[in-house]
């Protein structure tokens, strides 16, 4: 397994775990819009900041561990297959994020609160990243 595929696995698992836990926790409050209080906005901002920091730190630690454990000291530069896989994955993420953001913007028509829309935008970005990483993993497994 190349380090690029390994990095994609790390991103996929970390993003799914961290943000999945966040949305699992906040989902009851989001669907019951009346339960949202002004203080929830502060909780939302704090949670996003903390989760982003946690994700970055964990990704760095796992990348260091992967670098220490791998046999070769140098990772070869991206070749044409790596670039093709990367471009395909970015295209998947772009289309997914575009569609989701259009859907989220439609929430405004239904009078959803700004906090719900903010979480919708955040969820769109998270889903796009998950799809990008999954596309990379599948391409390396099944062939580009």
């Amino acid at each position: 397994m190349s380090i690029r595929e390994r990095s994609a696995w790390i991103s996929l698992l970390l993003t799914s775990a961290i943000w999945g836990a966040y949305f699992w926790k906040i989902w009851p409050d989001l669907i019951d819009d009346g339960a949202l209080a002004a203080s929830t906005t502060g909780v939302f901002v704090s949670a996003v900041v903390v989760l982003v920091i946690v994700q970055i730190v964990l990704a760095i630690l796992l990348a260091i561990a992967a670098a220490v454990l791998r046999r070769r000291s140098e990772e070869p530069p991206m070749d044409e297959r790596d670039q093709l896989i990367d471009l395909k994955a970015i295209r998947v993420a772009f289309y997914a994020m575009s569609a989701l953001l259009i859907a989220v913007s439609g929430l405004w028509i239904f009078g959803m609160s700004p906090l719900v829309m903010a979480n919708g935008i955040l969820a769109s970005m998270v889903i796009a990243e998950i799809l990008r990483a999954a596309s990379v993993v599948l391409s390396y497994r099944l062939g580009a």
């Binding site: 070869p76 044409e80 390396y140 099944l142 062939g143 580009a144």
Partner: protein, 71 residues
């Protein structure tokens, strides 16, 4: 989704015929990763024209001695 292209290759045989060249050695010779060479040999990835020419030049044979279009 389109299936794999109908292209066969003789890379594995040519490697063995050339002093049992390793996949890593071939990858280093043409500037690609070993994983890409594996994918090419398994028919999971079709290299670019440039990469195909580089591979054939490593073995000192023509392009169609390395890659064949199978209908």
């Amino acid at each position: 989704m389109a299936g794999p292209p109908p292209i066969r290759n003789q890379i594995r045989r040519l490697r063995f015929d050339h002093g049992e060249m390793t996949q890593q050695a071939l990858a280093d010779a043409i500037g690609m990763t070993r994983q890409t060479i594996v994918a090419i040999e398994q028919g999971k990835y079709s290299p670019s024209l440039e990469a195909a020419f580089r591979i054939s030049r490593v073995f000192g044979v023509g392009l169609e001695d390395v890659f064949q279009w199978s209908e």
